[in-house]
Structure formats: structure tokens, C-alpha cells
Symmetry: C2
Subunit: 294 residues, 2 copies
Amino acid sequence: MNFKQEMEERISYIETVLKKYLPPKDGFQERIMEAMEYSLMGGGKRVRPMLMLESYRLFGGEGKVMEPFMAAMEMIHTYSLVHDDLPAMDDDEYRRGRKTTHIVYGHAMGILAGDALLNYAFETALSSFDLENHPGIPKALQVLANKAGIYGMIGGQVVDVESEGMEISMEKLQAIHRMKTGALIQASVMIGAILAGASSKDVQIMEQVGADIGLAFQIQDDILDVTSTTEELGKPVFSDEKNHKTTYVTFKGLESAKADVEEISKRAMKTIDGFSGEKEFFLELVKSLITRKK
Amino acid sequence: MNFKQEMEERISYIETVLKKYLPPKDGFQERIMEAMEYSLMGGGKRVRPMLMLESYRLFGGEGKVMEPFMAAMEMIHTYSLVHDDLPAMDDDEYRRGRKTTHIVYGHAMGILAGDALLNYAFETALSSFDLENHPGIPKALQVLANKAGIYGMIGGQVVDVESEGMEISMEKLQAIHRMKTGALIQASVMIGAILAGASSKDVQIMEQVGADIGLAFQIQDDILDVTSTTEELGKPVFSDEKNHKTTYVTFKGLESAKADVEEISKRAMKTIDGFSGEKEFFLELVKSLITRKK
């Protein structure tokens, strides 16, 4: 099997897990379940749950306990996109070539669908207590909450929103990247390691690996915004420029940004390669993040 | 000490707990911490954490483990108000006589402050694992997430938003009340009981007590909307009518609604009175919910 086939197999497995953990659509509140499903099953690369799975395997994990966490992670990522697309935020009508949630379900339901996905993420991750008596679950839950919140993703979102249209320092830009994109990727590889029973030293090492992957991923995003076509990307290009955002590319220039992506990714790959577990696909996955076109 | 003094003492204790669990205001994302504090420390009766505390005492609880849950409960209640006040929802500029969060901090920050409070609620409740090794924590967390989500508060909010300006059945109206207001009150008394080590049968009994208190509380809200003055209530009266909402009062009439509040509250009080623990304040608190003026 080549990398592309392995990737598709994993995406298919992850989407099966997502469907399993989505709430059944019934009751008076049926429409919110529809909106959650519409938002969550809208495609995408499923990078975060995939990284969680690979980190779990790297440390010898073999059970099902990471499944609710994989679903929770993708729900949190998805809710952040749903709220990010709202008129008061980025005001986007399309994402991945489909209408955004608030365009399909209305503005109020867009807010509520995001809230519902965030809350249901915790409801889902907490259901892991019913699967098995696993000593890593409390720590995994704490990492999930911490990296999704004001010290992680939401924190990055806040600084990003506040910096719009302003010149910002490289320090602040990197803080935005570290929190907004990096934190959930960190949480993914940390939770995979924790649930596989890795030592706290190894979990800490994976926190740095996640930071590197996240930063490389975000710089690549900034690069694609100026080098792709709308068709390739599935959303308008130059949207960062349109929104007057300072990005890594406007700061350091295209060539330098590309070199940084490569260097940071290689550092992460070297660390992963230092562990003895199943790592072939993990390494190829990280590599693919720097050559991706969308 | 009379009831009013005891109430004030409890509110003061709860607000000390809230302040203890609020994140310190620093870092690039300082403004979101300010918005969270502004939203959370805006007064209010603190009914949910107070009910949690009374239920905890009723079943003999004596530790500090319920404190992060009390803070988490009030954070969840608060986020729901912050998002409810947004222009796409109820579009309210004032709450409890103060400007609403999105008016003070801007629309985008209103959305993010709500998200941040919801996420931080779980971060806070999960910190209970660091306080003590308590066997009830996983169940308490599950109840919190379940009652705050699509099968609880958010579910009620969704059906409420969808029913706006439409004639709805009594069945649907009661489902809205049960979920939108009842669920968090249920969670409060259930979590108090769980953390005090009550049996699962007693937790189930408290779930019904919570449903009764919640329903009485919501009907009283509907009653106050038509019988209070703006000054007493701290928000515009007749706001339900203004928003073309079917309420318990428009359905059953004022006198019948008042009688129902009394009957339902008495049923809850009788059950509480059946337990042997500390219950004097708990009973007075429930009674006060049916005679409150705001």
C-alpha cells in the first residue's frame, strides 16, 4: 500500500469513529444534531485525530480508548471553524467548497452548533471512562481542555482577532501560531502518547514535537494562501491579505518561510524517528504536511 | 442569622470560589480573561452553585472537591447568557443593569468569551482530579457535560430559538423548560449529591428534585416577565411578549401558572425534607425561588 492509500484508509477509519460518536438525530432538538453532523462530516484532512492515532501507535497503544478522544478532538477543531466563519469573525460563506454552517442553518444556529460541538466534545471524551478503567484518562482530559482553551486555541484566536489590520511583532505572530494551530496538534500527539502509557518525559517530548508540527503546518497554510488557486484550496486565496492580516509570509518572505517549514518539520521528524515504535506512516504524514497543496 | 444574611454569606463564599478559579489576567490574551471576569462577576443570584452546595451538605459532604464544580457550573450558566445576548440571538444590550459582554468587548469577543467560559468550565472541573482522589469525579463530570449539552441546556436553547414567533404545544414548551433551565439545576443538585457520596438511587431522586426546582424557577421567570417593573427586574419587562414567545403564562394564564409553581416547589421540598442531612437553608432557598421578585 502506498502513502496515499494508507492515508485514505486512515481517513475512512477516523470518519467511521466520528459517525459512531455523533449523536443520533432525534427529539425536538433534531436540527442541532443535523447541524453538528453537517459541520463535522464536511471533509477535511482529519490531521489532528490522525496525529493522535499515530502518536498512540508510536508508543505501542493498541486499544479503543483513544477513539472518543479522536472524535472529541475533531469536534473541537470543527466548532472553532464554525465560529470562525460567523459574520462577526471571518464572515466566510464557503469552506472546503461547501456553504458554511451558519449560511445553511442560520446565524443563531451557527452559534449554537459551535457551542454544541464544543460541549459534546467533552461529553464524548468523558465517555472514555465507560470504556475502560485507564489511569491516563484524567490527564488526557486535562490536556484536551487546556490546549483548546484560553492558553491554547481560543487564546490564539483572541490575539489573532485583536491583531487584525495592525502591524504585530514576530513574537506575537508566533504566539498566535503556537496557540491557534499548534495547541490542538500538541494536544493530539500528547493525548495519543498518554493513552498509550508513555512516560511523562516522553509526553513532554511529544509536546515539543506537536509544537513543531503545528508551526510548520501554520506557516504552510500562510504559504498556500499566496501560492494556491481558489480551486485547489477550496476557499478564496489571498484571504489573509484581504483581511489585512500579518502572516509568517508577509513577515519573513516566501522563500524564507518555505525554508523554515522544512527545518522545523525535519526537527520534529528526527525526534519521532528516535522512538522505537511504529513510525513509518507518522514520518510520512509529517513530511506530507510540508508538501501539501491544500 | 436570618435567611437573607445566610444567603448573602453563601453568595459571598461562592464569589470567593469563582474568583479563585478565574484565570489570572496576563499574557497576549489578557483581554479574554478580562471579558470572562466581566461576564462571570456581573452579580446574579448564584442559584446553581448554591443548590450544588446545599445538595452536597444534605448528603453530608464536607470537603473542597465541589468547589471547582461550583465554579464550572456558574461559568457554563454565564457563557449561555453571553451567547444568548448576542445580536443573532436575543440581541440584548443590558443584563442585570450592566452592559452585556459583546457590547463592552465587541461582537467577536462576545462569541469568544462565551466559548472561553464553556471550555474553561471543563478545565476548572477537571482540576478536581488534582485536589483529591475522589471516586465520584468521573460521574460528576459526565453529568455536567450531559446536562449542559444537546440533551440539556443547549438542546433547550435550540428548540426555544426555533420556536420563536410560532405557536407551540404544551409538550414542546415543557421540553424547552426542562432542558433550558431545568438541566443545569438538575446537574447542580446531582453533582452535589454525587460528590458527597450519595447512592445512585438518591442521585436519581435528586435529578427529579432538580427538574421540579428548574420548572418552578422557569415558570416564575415567565410570571415575573409580565408582573415586574423594569427597575425591579434589571432588564426590560414584557421581553418575552416583545420577542413573540409562547410562555407558560401565555399558555396557562397567570393564576394557574402561580398555582403550578407552588405545587411543584412543594413536591421538591417534601422530597428534600425526607432526607436526614442539613436541609434548613436548602428548604428556605427552594421556597424563596417561588416568592422572588427578580
